[in-house]
């Protein structure tokens, strides 16, 4: 499972894309559809940054109508496209904007006009009607509007992007590949000097064009190329995940965006968010107890049952916000728009950074980047992502709640054991991911499987399934050394970061049980512990 130190691996590609989020993978697919080969790398794995740390909201644009009409209009157009072209990834559940007693009535009253300016359909409904639609809404709701908000599974979107590119034969993906520098010669980046972060091996990647889609890390990557023209502020957003789905629709508070003012359904659960805290280091974004308590207190004003809801996890993402010159360093006021930075004024002719933006507008960002890269390569094929549907297949469907259960039920194979009982994920799903999902060309860990499925995302948060999947991977020979237990330790340690802030009530006994299983029955806390006397004990 580990490579050879020192032996330098070398790859060549037309375009190197740095960053396996929804933007980077969107660019990969965009280029593949133009017949341009790309190699996508990520320091971790797909969706490791904001693409995996968001509420999965496909904005109608309603949330931005008051502050940023341009972004709002982009959201509207892109969400309409995606609903048509990637329907498997989307739940067109609709959305409500509600004002609660104490919220500014003038802001509420102006909402329909703002929507009209951005071209967003908006229908006023009575508070009684709104509560009939969403019984968890507060009695104190005094105004409500319906908009075409939807939800999107960002994991599936990313997986489908990569999968489409590789099925077209124009894209490869290398996870755990960190960029350490660039070879610069004659105003061009000739190659990226990288490191395989699992084996420690040095890797050289030569490319004609290099795209920086590093999200919150885009500024760091640009600096490695000597570019000082990417200026980001890091805005941490924290969300909490409930054990059940509390609303059918997206429910937004009708006021300027603030903490705990949006509840987004995500299949069988709901996500409540979001905080906005400016942080110094994008690597240091974990949810805190203070954020969770604040989000929950605010959310309960809009939806009182939230106060007694069981939450199973919290998570944080980092919004990489473009800092316009002179703008205040306030995460909520900074632009949610995106920017294509060509770096030509930095005397580089084959480097581009795509920064800022939103999940909802990722396709448009990929299109603009693809246009530039194609033009620089002398490729005149037009963008096709606004007309070609995003194809799906089994290998990339497992992140959808209920998908594995349906598949398992239809197979009706009693010997196909369920490994993750909370999310009904059977052995066959894990096997399909290991053999065929994007990234399966490389070694698959429990964490990589969890990213491509629902494993560990249910109420037990990995207490049982971590053990079961690990055993299964040993049985399948995917794990063949004690490193398998270390990877299980890494997985449960990572899950814990999100569980820690919501440990009270009914989730706390679950944690107590998990610790008993992971330490008492598996000995994960003793891996590498000093051994007494004979040296036989671990």
């Amino acid at each position: 499972m580990s490579g050879h130190q020192g032996a330098k691996r070398h790859y060549e590609t037309e375009v190197l894309i740095i960053g396996g989020g929804v933007t980077g993978t969107g660019i990969m697919r965009d280029l593949a559809l133009r017949g341009i080969h790309s190699l996508l790398i990520d320091r971790q794995d797909l969706n490791a940054g904001a693409s995996g740390g968001n509420h999965g909201l496909l904005h109608s644009g309603g949330r931005y109508v008051a502050a940023d009409a341009e972004t709002a209009a982009e959201c509207r157009a892109e969400s309409e496209l995606l609903k048509r072209l990637a329907p498997e990834c989307i739940d067109p559940c609709g959305g409500l904007f509600v004002a609660v007693e104490g919220d500014d009535p003038e802001f509420a009253a102006r909402f329909p006009d703002h929507c009209a300016v951005a071209g967003i359909p908006c229908e006023e409904i009575s508070p009684t009607e709104a509560r009939k639609m969403e019984p968890a809404l507060s009695e104190k709701v005094y105004a409500a509007y319906q908009v075409p908000d939807a939800t999107v599974d960002p994991f599936r979107l990313t997986l489908q992007n990569v999968n489409h590119a590789r099925r077209l034969g124009f894209g490869d993906f290398l996870p755990h590949m960190g960029v350490e520098g660039f070879d610069i010669e004659g105003g061009e980046l000739k190659a990226a000097r990288c490191r395989d972060l699992r084996s420690g091996e040095e890797v050289l990647i030569s490319a004609r064009q290099i795209v920086n889609a590093g999200g919150a890390w885009a500024m760091n990557i640009a600096r490695l190329a000597g570019c000082a023209d990417v200026n980001l502020i890091y805005s941490k957003g924290t969300l909490i995940v409930s054990n059940t789905r509390l609303s059918q629709r997206v429910v937004n508070r009708l006021r300027l965006p603030g903490d705990g003012d949006i509840l987004v359904p995500g299949g069988t659960v709901s996500l409540l968010g979001t905080s906005s805290v400016t942080i110094e280091d994008p690597d240091d974004a974990r949810p805190t107890i203070a954020e969770v308590d604040k989000i929950l207190a605010e959310g309960a004003v809009m939806m009182p049952p939230l106060a007694d809801t069981r939450f199973i996890r919290a998570f944080s993402g980092v919004r990489p916000l473009l800092m316009a010159s002179g703008a205040a360093e306030d995460g909520r006021k900074a632009s949610r728009g995106f920017s294509l930075i060509t770096h030509e004024d930095q005397n580089l002719s084959n480097f581009v950074t795509i920064a800022g933006g939103k999940l909802t507008t990722f396709r448009l960002m990929a299109e603009k980047t693809g246009d530039l890269v194609a033009q620089r390569l002398g490729n005149s094929a037009p963008c096709a992502t606004h007309t070609v549907p995003l194809p799906t297949e089994n290998a990339v469907g497992w992140t959808e709640p209920g998908f594995a259960a349906r598949d398992w039920y239809q197979r009706a194979d009693a010997s196909d054991m369920i490994l993750c009982e909370c999310e009904m994920t059977p052995q066959s799903a894990v096997d399909a991911i290991v053999s065929d999902a994007p990234g399966s060309e490389h070694h698959m860990s429990l964490q990589a499987i969890a990213l491509r499925s629902r494993v560990g995302k249910g109420a037990c948060q990995g207490a049982f399934c971590a053990m079961r999947v690990t055993s299964h991977l040993y049985d399948r020979g995917i794990y063949d050394s004690p490193e398998g237990l270390e990877l299980m330790r890494d997985f449960v340690t990572e899950r814990f970061k999100g569980v820690r802030p919501v440990l009270w009530g009914r989730q706390l006994p679950q944690m107590e049980l998990a610790e008993t299983l992971h330490c008492g029955l598996t000995g994960l806390d003793l891996l590498g512990a000093k051994k007494p006397g004979s040296g036989r004990a671990s």
Binding site: L503, L517, R536, A537, S538
Partner: protein, 427 residues
């Protein structure tokens, strides 16, 4: 239908049906106390079957638990173990393992050193006493004997290959074989069901035959813990005879057989020895008074009211329901006793899940005095007739310290002793 009200009077009421509760019943009956045990099953089905005394201190695996206890009393004077001497703890442990061996599940005698017991992950665990059905595994590992590990397709979370790969460096003479469990081919397996299927001798031969066929000179055979439910030692001996090799069990993911065996044995045997046992019902309310306590339970057909001159709480932690946490703090669920706890949720858990220091929340619980009497906020006993034992006690981290059984047994011993002295003095 009119609900009946049944009233029971007893000397000592033990609330909780985990290891601490059953240990307390054994000690109380031995002291001749009139004893009733109430409450639904705790976390006993989650045990590996291994009885730890003290296996880890400061992230270090201990070979000598008794010396470890001496060091623990110095380092952690508030730890429940510090309330007792090593001689008392040893006596308690021996009485307990003798008693369960007498009742039908043989356990190894607690010795001077920890044993390296086997976990399904292929990691060894320091423990003091193991069931006779698991002891040959300790020997096989210690001597590095040629051993075949058998697993069954359909039994989740138990992989002979995982076991072998992780033990390989220190135990090269391991081999593995996967065989279909006879009669349960091609389906999901539950250890409890398999164990019951081996109760009758005719259920054993088909499995023994399959293992014999793949033995290939192995001196020992290890398999998941499924060797019978009510008479595991008999099943174990019979299977060894049939297979022609030493045989041992390895713990499985819960709900697991070793704990269910213990619970069923206690429920079967202790009433025969004079215990009034009210299992599977939760005490809904308790009233503490100067002369004792009254405990209320609602059965399916009748209400129960147990008047007890002394009460011992062995209600466990969060999983068993003895403690509850809300966003603001922790509370004891039955009597609202004060809970020693870290200030604020940010201090409950460390940032790193497997921080070797353990989480501060795990050390929260009931503060008690030398007689194991819960204390109020002012540091005085809440009630002279109220005692507590087991995981509900503060200042211990039984999971990380590998001291769960030891804590249950020792604290039950100490609390019952104090309760007996109080009852005999006030009788």
């Amino acid at each position: 239908m009119k609900r009946e009200l049944r009233r029971v009077e007893t000397g000592l009421a033990i609330i909780g049906a985990g290891l601490a509760g059953f240990a307390a019943s054994i000690f109380a009956l031995r002291r001749g106390l009139d004893t009733a045990q109430l409450g639904h099953t705790g976390a006993i089905a989650y045990t590996t079957g291994y009885f730890d005394l003290l296996g880890v201190m400061d992230g270090r695996v201990l070979d000598e638990p008794w010396a470890g206890l001496d060091a623990l009393r110095e380092a952690e004077p508030a730890h429940p173990f510090a309330r007792l001497g090593n001689d008392e703890i040893r006596e308690a442990f021996e009485i307990f393992t003798d008693a369960i061996s007498d009742m039908g599940i043989a356990y190894s005698k607690p010795g001077d050193h920890n044993l390296s017991a086997l976990l399904p992950s292929g990691v060894a665990k320091p423990t003091l006493s193991v069931p006779a059905t698991m002891l040959p595994g300790v020997e096989a590992f210690r001597t590095g004997a040629k051993t075949l590990i058998v697993d069954f397709p359909g039994l989740q979370g138990f992989s002979a290959t995982e076991f072998k790969v992780n033990f390989a460096a220190s135990w090269p003479a391991l081999s593995v074989c996967r065989i279909e469990f006879p009669g349960f081919e091609g389906q999901q397996l539950y250890p409890e069901v398999l164990a019951r299927s081996l109760e009758a001798p005719h259920g054993r031969e088909p499995l023994a035959e399959k293992i014999r066929a793949v033995l290939d000179g192995a001196e020992y055979v290890g398999l998941p813990a499924v060797l019978g439910m009510h008479a595991p030692d008999e099943v174990h001996a019979d299977m060894e005879r049939r297979i022609g090799a030493r045989l041992f069990e390895i713990p499985t993911i819960p709900p697991a057989v070793p704990g269910i065996r213990l619970r069923e044995m206690f429920e079967r045997e202790l009433p025969r020895r004079g215990l009034v046992l009210v299992p599977q019902l939760k005490v809904s309310r308790s009233e503490l008074g100067a002369d004792g306590a009254v405990h209320h339970l609602q059965g399916p057909l009748e209400d129960l009211e147990i008047s007890a001159r002394a009460t011992l709480l062995a209600t466990g932690r969060f999983l068993s329901g003895g403690l509850y946490a809300d966003q603001a703090g922790l509370r004891e669920t039955l009597l609202g006793l004060p809970v020693v706890q870290p200030s604020g949720r940010d201090n409950w858990y460390r940032r790193d899940y497997l921080d070797p220091r353990g989480h501060q929340l795990n050390r929260a619980g009931l503060e008690t005095d030398a007689q194991f009497r819960p204390l109020d906020a002012a540091g005085a006993p809440v009630n002279p007739r109220l005692f507590a034992a087991g995981a509900v006690l503060a200042h211990q981290d039984w999971v990380r310290q590998r001291c769960g059984a030891g804590l249950a047994i020792a604290a039950a011993y100490g609390a019952v002793k104090a309760a007996a002295e109080m009852l005999n003095g006030s009788a």
